[in-house]
Amino acid sequence: MTEPCQPPSAQQMMATVVANQACGPGIHLLELTCAAALPAIAPGQFAFLRPRHGDIFLRRPLGVHEAEGTRLRLLFDVVGRGTAALAAVQPGQELDLLLPLGHPFEIPPPPALPVLVAGGLGLPPLHFLARQLHAAQRPFRMLYGARTAARLVLADDLAALCPQLRLFTDDGSAGEHAQITAGLADLPPQAHLLVCGPTPMMRAVASAAAQAGLACQVSLEERMACGLGVCMGCVCRTRNADGQEGRARVCVEGPVFPAQEVLWDSP
């Protein structure tokens, strides 16, 4: 966060919608073919996009869910105008992408035990990471929670990648009837938490990790205009090793930060 910022070298490219399917209440899986081969993308990095035609002005950030060759998959929740517009794009229509942006999760080297903690639509970067760890045959654990069973999308996929997967729902309709923080109780000291989800959930996980002395990275959300670090719109409050308060841009220094550097706003 304090190192001088590297100019991002994102690419702008057009992508054509191949499929756009609802896979849960208000949750869409968007599959795209890009005009060129995708550059290297790491889990935690995001795409900054908008439909080529339509009445959305600013781009929206979405974590990369899956990327291979010219194929890109995004998974998102309809929460407002922008995501509603994305939910409405039809196969054949075009999106304008800028990617990859942002600082990804840093995969802790062994003997650390990666523990992926996904809350709701915080899943995409961690699903991506789970596939990488599985492919590398690296042991890891995963906790995945949502409000209700219907919103616990792609849980079967994850189970195939991670035998240690634990599921949670707020209403007990699937997995354990508990907050995801319940899954942190019995972790070994070499556990390294990699977290993405709603802010209150991340704050709770970060605080539990701090108390348990576990390493923890969190992927923050903020409204963005430029995605490139130039507008100063997407800042979060941070504190450095000396406890000094600062501001960091979620789009370049983040979205992934060491949890101890984040100053959470009071709930």
Binding site: D55, I56, L98, A225, L228, V230, M232
Partner: protein
């Protein structure tokens, strides 16, 4: 084709600049656009001390535009000179430093400090930022206050001074004339309009700061009208901005009377918008048989 010009004594390869607050201190855009092709880069506003700016959310989307309430977040003049200027100085485009403050003394202090640094081509005085509680907009609306701050800064600088005007005024001609009379070498029109957005589901303003500055194509008609009006009222050159997204929009500003243009919000939509516009202007000149782009400045007044 002839895109080059001299503006208030500053030689520019072409009339396209990146607007303050939309290009940071230049460095971040190098990976996504050909910065070397730009006429100039105008830095984010620099204040005497570093500022964190306003709490978030400080951005909102609006129809064909956006609101920002950044609140002059910047590294402060010392860190700017130490950490940001060396990079900018080595780039081909001219370096214009946007200066802000909450009191006349602060503007003067920042200007004095910048005078000691090399690699700056001009200053742009931001007397029009709507997002700070003190100063800012107050200076931008009152001709006497404008005269005072412009005069005070002029006395301590040797480089050309561009004054960036607020559109949130009854009479843009009188504020512009006040800046000219106090010694401004050029004017930049316009900064953002004051606006607001509401999160109806929460029954609250979207921005933590309540109001913010409206930019983007939505405000282009307002910017064009103000440039058109001020063109015949002042003798110093005008830099036009506000909602320029494409080559045509830049040409519209030139035809209304701007000698140069700045690209702001467009960079957020297409990082290389400014580069495309430079290419587009050259192609237009070619197509229309225009030898010197400056020949069309003010064409709408004929």
């Amino acid at each position: 084709m002839g895109l080059a010009l001299e503006l208030a004594g500053i030689p520019l390869a072409n009339p396209v600049m990146l607007a303050s607050g939309t290009c940071g201190y230049g460095q971040e855009l190098a990976g996504v656009m050909a910065v070397e092709t730009l006429g100039a880069i105008v830095t984010k506003a620099i204040t005497a001390s570093p500022r964190f700016g306003n709490p978030t959310p400080r951005l909102a989307e609006t129809p064909a535009g956006m609101l920002n309430a950044i609140g002059l977040a910047n590294v402060g003049v010392e860190a700017f000179i130490a950490d940001k200027l060396p990079y900018l100085r080595d780039l081909a485009p001219r370096v214009i430093v946007n200066i802000a403050g909450s009191r006349i003394e602060e503007y003067v202090a920042v200007a004095e400090r910048l005078e000691t640094a090399t690699g700056i081509d001009a200053y742009e005085l931001n007397i029009s930022c709507p997002n700070v509680a003190h100063g800012g907009i107050a200076f931008g609306a009152d001709p006497a206050a404008i005269a005072a701050v412009v005069g005070a800064v002029k006395r301590v600088i040797t480089r050309p001074l561009i004054v960036k005007m607020s559109p949130n005024v009854t009479d843009i001609v009188s504020t512009s004339r006040a800046a000219e009379d106090a010694g401004a070498d050029a004017l930049a029109l316009i900064n953002t309009l004051i606006g607001m957005a509401v999160d109806v589901s929460r029954r609250r303003p979207v921005l933590a700061n309540l109001t913010g500055g409206l930019s983007g194509p939505a405000i282009r008609p307002v910017g064009l009208a103000m440039v058109y009006k001020v063109f015949t009222a002042v003798r110093i050159p005008i830099i036009g901005l506000g909602g320029i997204m494409e080559t045509e929009d830049a040409l519209a500003y030139l035809m209304c009377g701007a000698r140069a243009v700045q690209i702001g919000t467009a960079t957020f939509i297409n990082p290389d918008a400014a580069v495309r516009i430079i290419t587009g202007l050259a192609a237009w000149c070619d197509d229309q048989g225009v030898d010197d782009l400056q020949d069309i400045v003010g064409a709408c007044h004929l």
